[in-house]
Amino acid sequence: MGLELLVASAIGILTAAGMYLVLRLRTFPVIMGMSLLTYAVNVFLFASGRLTIGAPPILTDAARYTDPLPQALVLTAIVISFGMTAVVVMIGLGAYLGGDDDRVNDPAPETEAEETT
């Protein structure tokens, strides 16, 4: 019971903090918030196979085992979110260095005179 409470509240706190940061509208906090959200979802996926302590994630003669599939899912999710974070950091840096502005939302209409080609 104690473990469930710990994991559940960890997911909740990570998600709440992540959501708060995502709504900050500047690239750096938003990217930090995205990372917290991906931590939260990774722990959530991990817990989706039920929490079992001290059992191998493989079928053996023993009766107890941990569901191995969520671990595979989490591994995939970690790799993908790591790659995505790297991409968004690069694009965000490019936008900041090019435009001298790290806001995420659209610029005000009067500054929109610059035209992409």
Binding site: V22, L45, L73, M84, G98
Partner: protein, 514 residues
Amino acid sequence: MMHWIIAPVILPALLAPFIVLAARYHFAIQRVFSIAGVLSLIAISAGLAWQASDGTVTLYQLSDWAAPFGIVLVGDRLSTLMVLLTSVLALFVLLYAIGSNWDKRGWHFHALFQFQLMGIMGAFLTGDLFNLFVFFEVLLIASYGLMIHGGGNLRLRAGVQYVLFNLIGSTLFLFALGAIYAQTGTLNMADLAQRVALIDLGDTVGIRVAAVLLLLVFAIKAAIVPLHFWLPSSYAEAPAPVAALFAIMTKVGAYAIIRVYTMIFPPELAATDGLHSIWLMPAALVSLAIGMIGVLAAQKLDRLVAFSVIGSMGMVMVAISMFTPEGIAAALYYIVHSTLAAAALFLIADLVRTGRPSLALTAMAPASGAPLTSALFFLAAIAMAGLPPLSGFVGKLLILDASFDGAMAVWIWAVVLGTSLISVVGFSRAGATLFWKAKSIPVPEDAEPFPAPAALSYVAVGGLLALLVAHTVFAGPAYSYVERTAAQLFAPDPYISKVLETPGKLSSPTKEVY
């Protein structure tokens, strides 16, 4: 076992690294391989569509592992139709990118293009929800690169928005998958279809949350109001051929909604009762209205086209959220139409841009190549606004007809017909300002003339419009095909039994040695 069904995924996956590694500095070779790859994709997907046309469900078990433990690809009428549509669209987009030299304005256009195709094809063919997530990520990460192809500050900023919005979508997708797995212990679509129906009604909290989360994720992809805010900037700032290819990306969301909400959470399922009619239908009607009002309000041609994409996705979702065989059939007919029409409009916006300093909807001096461009714009606008004689009109008629007996008929008729009028006004205002008023503006004498667009660009746009004409002329056969596709979707038992009962490794544990 027949291996052709995995070819649409494998072929671009092999071609892309080859283009990066072997042909990095040779644009001519990149172009040849890219075109050859897309042509063979068309041939393969036409073969797959022909094979699925009699109702056969083709199953491919990777490494021969049996479902639900192994990963499966499934080809039925719907997925092969979407695969064929994607590869045909890709050919014309690629021709335009080559004709207009867009592919030379940055690095790795062709490699990213192939990776994008790989992701889209995989998303259409997979029979597993987690793989759907993985292929979404493949197509997204390629689209991030394509979206900022050519650089520029506005484009990079729009790219940041696009990436962040989609990352949030991916996180939601993972939460939904976790909830589904926690409740059912499987992520295979066919297996889920059976298990979700067995869940006791009092115990459906997890699966209901998951159903709503999944709908949100797919709604982000399909740009349904209120989750459409990423689309106008991204599509307007993306390079034209990329925006044209993205016309199929919103349809990936529509496809996923059709697939998941006819098979796993069908309308008659008590646990998710009302999700389709109470939530999805009004959202679709509002998207349609917002999109077409955006067409009227847009001050630049690229934004106008982006809003018309939102409007046409709203139209598609109105038809889908009826969740009747007639509604889905009309939606599929309209999906083919709106993909081709939206792609053509994005390419035409780029043709207009090559002759003018900007795309602002103000009168400017006539540009070289304007007569042909304006003729193409006229045709594409007729198609997108849904005026006779092109396929947009036929599609709209099918949607109105399908809704006639439903409870929402009055709302659907009012919104569809009202927004049609608004979009006609919006498109004719744009066309009149861009092409007609240009006659009254004298060309400044010292101005350098803009180069006329290349002939190949016109071939690409003309090809897309010719497909629209064909889609209209052969509307009868096309509709009877999508009707059969919808019938297959509403009788999923052959699909499910094919996926779950085909033998493979692990399907008979007694014979296996652990």
